[in-house]
Every structure is written in structure tokens, then in C-alpha cells.
């Protein structure tokens, strides 16, 4: 393959990467993939790659030098432009995974992957983020948590979840009327009556690949309403932390449930 054609092909591959990154940023879909401070970097990287690819395509025919000195024993005909791999192989390896991924993605995990991300783990296995929460007292609940007209305090799933492993937190929240929101999925554990479903949100550190699910159990004490898997809901009820099979579990005794719009930031963020 001629060096010029090779440059044009590589430049095109770089432009494809650039285009995918810029498209996801411009469409807002990047929010489902990256924490906020990485989104701008991704956009700048996409722009930079666009310049790199375009510049190399436009100057693909230019004659130039490698621009530096060559010593003895060094191969003088290196051109600093040809890849270690055959250009077509390199092209396939660069473009096929990103192309397939762009076609396959639905911007969210399947239930099987969610299970792997901890959606069904017990809170005791998932305490690595508990230190991120500030101390909680009855007074701080009154000050920092909005109370709905129906008398429910608004809590994030994170607080309800981590209270399971924190006695102080638990003593404040246990028995409290609360309101929270998240995505509803089937409950697979301790659900012989079929009256439970699970409510979760993802916690992202940097990107969705490093995310962890933050779940609680929603107990309906009756057949749960027919809400599609993974839909966003707002639930009100009484928060409890019963011991089941020797472990504490965060269980929300549901009194009211309604569909909700996805929040702007669907995941919890480290900041």
C-alpha cells in the first residue's frame, strides 16, 4: 500500500473516532457514559483527533522529512508514518469495535450486567462508598431534606442504602416516612410472595464501566404494579431495616408509586 493511501486511511480512521466522540457529546448521550468532568475532555479529545485526522488527509501528498538526525546503526529509511501492523489490519482493529459498539449501544446496562454491578448485592458487600456521606441527625434531616405536602422526606437512594451498614444513620431513618426515586427492576432474593421489586440507581466514579448499582428493596405487600423493567419511578413509604437470613436489608414499605422522568444526571456522581 502506498504511503499516501495509508495516510488517508489512517486519517479517516482517526476522523471516525473523532466523529463518534463529538456526536455523543453533541447529542447529550455522553451523559450516560461519563462523569461530568470527563465530558469536556472527551469533546476536546474529539476535536483534537478531528484536526489530526483532517490535517494528515489534507497533507497526505506532501513530501517531507522525518525532521531529525539519524545516528549510526539506525535504520535511515524509517518514515515515522507507517504503523507496526499492516494498514488494513490496523484499520479493522480500530474501526470494527467502535462501529459495532455504536450500533449496539442502548446507553444502559441489561439486567444481567446490572446484577454484576451489584444490583443484587447486600449492602454489607458494598460499603466502599459509605464514607462519601455526611453525618446524619434528625436536625439535619429537617434542615437538608425537603418534606413533601404529604409528609414524606425526600432522600436519595444512596442514603437509604448505606444506612444499612451505619447504625447512626439507620437509627435516624428507620421508620421514617420518605420519598425517593430510581429505576425499578425485578427482585430475585427473598421474594417468594412476589410482592417485592428492587429500586436502584448507578453510582459513577469516572465512567459507566466503573459504576456500581445502589439498590434498595421495595415491598408492596401486594402484587406490584405493572411497571416496565428499568423505568423511572418515584416511591413514597416507610423505610425499614429488617434482618432477613441473618443480614440487614433496606426495605421501603411502599405506600405510593408513580412514574417519574429520568433526572438530568441519571447516576450518582462522586462529586
Amino acid at each position: 500500500m502506498s504511503p499516501r493511501l495509508s495516510r488517508i486511511l489512517f486519517g479517516t480512521a482517526v476522523l471516525v473516532w473523532s466523529g463518534v466522540m463529538l456526536y455523543f457529546y453533541a447529542s447529550g448521550r455522553i451523559n450516560k457514559y461519563l462523569a461530568p468532568d470527563f465530558r469536556l475532555l472527551s469533546m476536546l479529545g474529539g476535536l483534537g483527533l478531528g484536526v489530526l485526522g483532517l490535517f494528515n488527509i489534507l497533507t497526505s501528498g506532501a513530501n517531507t522529512t522525518c525532521g531529525h538526525d539519524h545516528g549510526p546503526g539506525e535504520d535511515h529509511h524509517h518514515d515515522h508514518q507507517s504503523s507496526d501492523l499492516h494498514p488494513l489490519v490496523a484499520l479493522v482493529l480500530m474501526l470494527v469495535p467502535i462501529g459495532l459498539s455504536t450500533a449496539w449501544t442502548k446507553d444502559e446496562y441489561s439486567p444481567a450486567a446490572l446484577a454484576r454491578k451489584g444490583a443484587y448485592d447486600s449492602p454489607s458487600e458494598n460499603v466502599f462508598l459509605a464514607s462519601a456521606l455526611p453525618p446524619l441527625t434528625r436536625e439535619s434531616v429537617e434542615q437538608n431534606h425537603i418534606k413533601s405536602p404529604a409528609g414524606y422526606y425526600q432522600f436519595s437512594l444512596m442514603e437509604l442504602f448505606f444506612a444499612t451498614g451505619d447504625r447512626d444513620y439507620q437509627s435516624v431513618i428507620d421508620g421514617m416516612k420518605i420519598e425517593t426515586e430510581g429505576r425499578l427492576i425485578d427482585e430475585k432474593n427473598n421474594n417468594s410472595n412476589g410482592t417485592r421489586r428492587r429500586l436502584y440507581r448507578l453510582f459513577i466514579t469516572c465512567c459507566v464501566a466503573d459504576s456500581r448499582a445502589i439498590p434498595i428493596i421495595a415491598e408492596f405487600n401486594a402484587p406490584p404494579p405493572d411497571i416496565p423493567e428499568n423505568d423511572w419511578v418515584r416511591i413514597s413509604g416507610t423505610m425499614t431495616y429488617p434482618k432477613e437470613n441473618g443480614e440487614l436489608h433496606p426495605v421501603l414499605q411502599v405506600e405510593d408509586i408513580s412514574p417519574a422522568d429520568p433526572p438530568y444526571e441519571e447516576s450518582f456522581l462522586r462529586n
Binding site: 466522540m21 490535517f55 506532501a62 549510526p72 501492523l85 464501566a209
Partner: protein, 330 residues
């Protein structure tokens, strides 16, 4: 692959790619411009005359000349040919991909919320210490035990640092081979004085940057694909890998082998390591230290400079040393 597995793979793949690609771009742009704009003798001038001191300084040169591991091998090949002591070149080759600002920045970003400063500090420190240790050992070995026979022979036959030889230090401005023999008194028969213009240099720098980006992006793409398969539980060995996560010896060993296989760029490997949430901090440190020094692609690249036996000893020694440090930190 089922539609659900495709969906999971795609989400994980794209998220890691979006996160890491800007840092690869930054790293390869820097290495492309260094390749073209940095005069060949610049690095020698930074090194002290004392052999041991020069090894310690060589381990820090990545802070000034930041290159990733793919770009550093051609650079040290050229520098060794020009008379840079092999021990210094080895130290720089192993340390530069880790002890450089781009890697430090990407590691810090990737480990936000996971003791980022501690990870950056320990990664730089361990990478530097291991590279200097290799340099100090290499300084006590005969050159023929380290370098490929052809390269060692060319240095030994010169009998002095190659940069002192006249007639070899010319700008290569032509598009043809320079396979010709020339001694001190004869010219090789063509004009060596054609210096590139500013525009030509810029084009060369961008071409070099694109070449580096494509080389790294190919391995990154493969690495991210494998990581996405493990991350979402699609890969057959995912459960087995997870089962090693709690072992103080198995976890670092498994992650070093994973780093070896994935062949990730040091400017972006932290984004992979940060997703391995079942593994300990020390095991991730082993992943981040061993990978930039020894991996599948580097084994091939090292063979352009080093003897095969030395490469095997280097890979084994670094594996054991990194594993021991990780075990002690667990």
C-alpha cells in the same frame, strides 16, 4: 453474543474509549512533536557524568520528555545508537511511560474517588524505583548480554560513543534508503545539508503523531474490548478472574498477566484499572506498574533493541519485584 451482551459490551467499550482516547491523543501528539522537534543530543546533555547518578537522572527524564511505551522504544534505539549509555537508555525506557506528566494526570483523573493522589504517587515511585534498579543492574552487565548482536557489534566496533563519529549526524531529507558505507574521509555522495522547512517539520510531526496514535489506538481498542467483556461478565474467564480478586498473591499476579495481555498504553491504562473494582488497590498498582514496562507488544518492540534472553530476564524480574511490592502493600 446475545443482544443483551452486545448492549452491555457496547456501553462499557464506549465509556472507556471516550474516557481514555483524549489522553492517548495528548500523549501521541507530545511524542510526535518530540520525535521531530527534539534534537538528538538534547537528552545526553541532561545526564551527569557519573554513571550511577546518570541512571538516577535518566529515570526522571520522562518528566521532561514524556513519551508512552510504544514511542519510547524507537527513541531509545536511536539514542543507544548515538552513544547514550545502555543502562541510562534502559532506565529511561522503563521509567518514561510511567514517570511523566501525562500518565500522572490520566492516573489522577481515573482514580478520582479512589485515593487518586496515593495511586499517582505510588505508581510514579514504584515505576521509578524499578527502572533505576534495572539500570543499575544493567550497568554491571556486558553490553553484549543486553543489546542485540547487530547493535552491540556496531557500538563495540566504533569503540567510542557514536555521537563522536563524524559524517553520521545528518538530516535525512530524502525519501530513499541510506544503506551505504562511508568512512571518515569520504562522503556518501549526496547532499546532507537539506534541512526541512518549518512547514515540512509540522507535517512530519503530525504524521508521526498520527502513526503513534494509530499504533496505540489499535492496542487500546483490543484492550478495551477485552476489558469490556470481563467488566460486564461476558468473557468466559470473568468469574475466574473475580475469584482471584481476594487473594494477596493471586490478585496482583492475575492483574499483571492481564496487563501483559491487554498491552495498554500507559496514558490510558489507569482508566481500565479503575474499573477493576473487585481488586485491591495494591493489585491495581501492580497492573499499572508492570503493564507499561512489559506487555505483549513491548516484547516485540524490545526485540528491535534487546537480546531475547535479556528480555525474558527483564520480564521475569519485573514480574517478581512488582508482585512482591504489591503483596507487601496488600
Amino acid at each position: 453474543m446475545s443482544p443483551e451482551a452486545q448492549q452491555d459490551f457496547a456501553l462499557a467499550f464506549l465509556s472507556i474509549l471516550f474516557e481514555g482516547a483524549p489522553f492517548i491523543f495528548l500523549g501521541t501528539l507530545a511524542s510526535g512533536f518530540i520525535d521531530v522537534y527534539l534534537p538528538s543530543g538534547t537528552m545526553d546533555r541532561f545526564l551527569p557524568k557519573n554513571r550511577n547518578a546518570s541512571i538516577f537522572v535518566a529515570g526522571l527524564l520522562g518528566a521532561v520528555f514524556p513519551v508512552c511505551e510504544c514511542a519510547v522504544v524507537p527513541v531509545i534505539r536511536r539514542l543507544v545508537g548515538k552513544g547514550l549509555p545502555v543502562s541510562c537508555a534502559l532506565t529511561y525506557m522503563l521509567a518514561a511511560p510511567i514517570v511523566n506528566p501525562i500518565t500522572a494526570l490520566s492516573t489522577w483523573k481515573a482514580f478520582q474517588g479512589q485515593d487518586a493522589f496515593a495511586m499517582v504517587g505510588s505508581r510514579l515511585l514504584l515505576g521509578y524505583a524499578l527502572a533505576v534498579a534495572v539500570g543499575l543492574i544493567a550497568a554491571r552487565l556486558p553490553i553484549t548480554a543486553i543489546l542485540r548482536k547487530k547493535l552491540a557489534d556496531s557500538l563495540e566496533s566504533s569503540g567510542k560513543p557514536a555521537e563522536q563519529q563524524p559524517g553520521h549526524d545528518h538530516h535525512c531529507g530524502c525519501d530513499h534508503d541510506h544503506h551505504h558505507n562511508h568512512d571518515e574521509k569520504t562522503c556518501c555522495g549526496h547532499d546532507h545539508s537539506h534541512s526541512p522547512t518549518g512547514g515540512e517539520k509540522l507535517v512530519a510531526a503530525f504524521r508521526s503523531a498520527m502513526k503513534d496514535f494509530v499504533d496505540v489506538a489499535v492496542y487500546f481498542s483490543i484492550g478495551v474490548s477485552i476489558t469490556a467483556l470481563f467488566n460486564t461478565g461476558i468473557a468466559p474467564g470473568a468469574e475466574w478472574l473475580d475469584s482471584l480478586a481476594g487473594s494477596p498473591t493471586g490478585a496482583p499476579a492475575a492483574l499483571m498477566i492481564l496487563a501483559f495481555v491487554l498491552s495498554l498504553c500507559s496514558t490510558s491504562d489507569a482508566f481500565i484499572a479503575a474499573t477493576l473494582d473487585k481488586f485491591s488497590w495494591a493489585a491495581k498498582l501492580a497492573f499499572l506498574t508492570y503493564g507499561p514496562m512489559v506487555d505483549v507488544k513491548l516484547i516485540f518492540l524490545y526485540q528491535t533493541v534487546l537480546r531475547k534472553r535479556f528480555i525474558i530476564m527483564l520480564a521475569t524480574g519485573l514480574f517478581l519485584a512488582t508482585g512482591v511490592v504489591s503483596f507487601l502493600l496488600t
